[in-house]
Symmetry: C2
């Protein structure tokens, strides 16, 4: 900028005016500055400008995801990016990998770069490490997982209702022995889904059987093993609720491998490509990823724009998509369900 000012024979302030399209510069000078800038390949430096500017905005936001490469995280990333781009804001994303330390390190690294706001899919049981930054004015929106300590904005899927509907669906098809497959019990969404599973059993007056609940499944292979163990047990389930993406993949794979896919009912959670082509198609509880991402991004930018109203908690509903695997009838089927069985 100094060089441009020198070459065009004006002050640095006038160059700043031209670059920032501020009004009130004579056409003559504007032109001279423009030409000098082009000749010198002048590139504005946003980090310097944000350092001095009154609002201190860097035009960047942070996005902490479970893992940028998973379908759920990357779809959220896409939505947030689209909203941010509309405002000329750039997204710095990071993978937390269910590691609270990494979450903290990434957040600090983003704050050191002065992001204007942060969207967090938290791994940790405790988000209090964010409170200092929040107090100093950086807006933070929690996504997918509720913060345990901080009273803050959050956008969450209605996990317990989604899980409850899935299990109600299985019960309505005559199942009384429904297994639950879940991710780490420490992840709030996993806990909520287990809660919904329990609610559905209670409603149907089905006694809970701890032997049918498998948690802590961290990969599709672990989920597949769990299915194998459950089905070869003394009192096997007749239906399975796989409460997460990778877990569903493992369950599908195990059922196919054992040749039980037409025999054991299955409802999964989260979308999977191509499952409509499997035999049977896989019935899934779908999250509204676009809805979550849009709500979170809009909320964050409202806060960045200065909205100081009390923290909001947005709950996004799920949808059950029936494709066959969840409609396999169980031993308790009767009435309408028995009819379906013969169709």
């Amino acid at each position: 900028m100094r060089d441009v000012a020198a070459l065009s024979g004006v002050s640095i302030k006038t160059v700043s005016r031209v670059v920032n399209l501020e009004p009130g510069v004579s056409p003559d000078l504007t032109d001279r500055v423009r030409r000098a800038a082009e000749q010198l390949d002048y590139q504005p430096n946003l980090t310097a400008s944000s350092l001095r500017r009154r609002d201190g905005k860097t035009g960047s936001i942070g996005l902490l995801l479970e893992n940028v490469a998973t379908p759920f995280s990357s779809a959220l990333h896409r939505i947030v990016e689209a909203i941010a781009r509309g405002r000329g804001v750039v997204v710095i994303a990071g993978s937390v990998d269910e590691d609270p330390q990494r979450e903290r390190d990434l957040a600090m690294s983003f704050f050191a770069r002065r992001v204007d706001g942060l969207i967090v899919m938290s791994a940790g049981p405790d988000q209090s490490y964010l409170s200092t930054e929040r107090r100093s004015g950086t807006p933070i929106v929690f996504i997918d997982r509720a913060p345990t300590l901080l009273a803050a904005d959050s956008v969450l899927t209605d996990n317990s209702a989604g899980a409850r509907h899935a299990v109600e669906h299985l019960v309505a098809h005559g199942h009384r022995r429904v297994a639950f497959l879940g991710d780490l019990a420490t992840i709030s969404t996993a806990a909520e889904r287990l809660h919904g599973y329990g609610q559905a059993l209670d409603e149907a007056a089905i006694a809970r059987d701890p032997g049918l609940v498998r948690q802590g499944l961290r990969s599709s292979d672990e989920a597949a093993s769990a299915v194998g163990a459950l089905l070869s047990g003394a009192e096997p389930p007749t239906a399975i609720f796989a409460s997460q993406n990778l877990v569903t993949i493992g369950a599908v794979r195990a059922l196919h491998r054992l040749g039980r896919q037409h025999d054991v009912a299955l409802v999964g959670f989260d979308n999977l490509p191509l499952v409509d082509l499997l035999d049977p198609g896989v019935t899934l509880v779908l999250q509204d990823i676009a809805g979550i991402g849009l709500a979170a991004a809009h909320l964050l930018f409202r806060r960045i724009d200065g909205d100081l109203t009390p923290a909001e908690k947005v709950i996004i509903p799920t949808t059950l998509v029936t494709r066959g695997s969840g409609e396999i009838v169980g031993p308790g089927a009767s009435g309408v369900n028995a009819l379906r069985r013969s169709s």
Copy 2:
């Protein structure tokens, strides 16, 4: 930092020394500064530090992807992030969406934030807009798609060899009418795959039939329609090479819908989850995404560290994974292949 200096009764420079772990500060002062920093919730400002620092590094790199939400792009993102994290560097990613203007805008937006380097999966036919920035010293590595004008570092899949192997595989199974389904002809990878397809036909002395080539397919639905049209034509193909991810999904879906999945051979490109459970499993050409990402990230950081050796071009091979759909034999099968047919 000024406040910390005031509170601890030392100069700003001494605070800087403590914060940056520079040696040569007395334990007494170190301690006083530490306590003052904690009391004031001091957060270092990396953007200010990089503005003044001699090397000017911001500890951030840019990553231009086709679309952060696609499996290919997001897997690359993950690898690049992992390498960057090891150096305390943050990744700013953006989706180009096959739009050259958007690519340019994103790149400029990253440069304005003074990224230390850039990895680009380019959409445009012309990357000359990057030459100014390159000349001014910002390392740029092209990934997945070769730059047309700029002589620069690049890490690419061996697309034509991958496609050639796929088609050779189909020809070896007795097919002489092999259809090619491809993305936009303007995308270099799509063009290279078409080239490999042509090479394989030439090798086998099979005349090319333009009626078997469908390009510009931008979605799985478009690919599915193309398959429908091809199969209902006068001289339908007996095998299909689907040269891209979404295109493969569309082809699989169309074959299943038409009940032709056991009849028409198919080899796809790029990985798809769960395809091993389909009947038949889908034979795929796999790219080594981790290999591409690692090579690109390492190359970029070498350049950032000052390596000025001539530009490198890294070619990463593909792997053909046979799962059934590509081994359906065609009318020209004989010998070993005929045996396979009856097995």
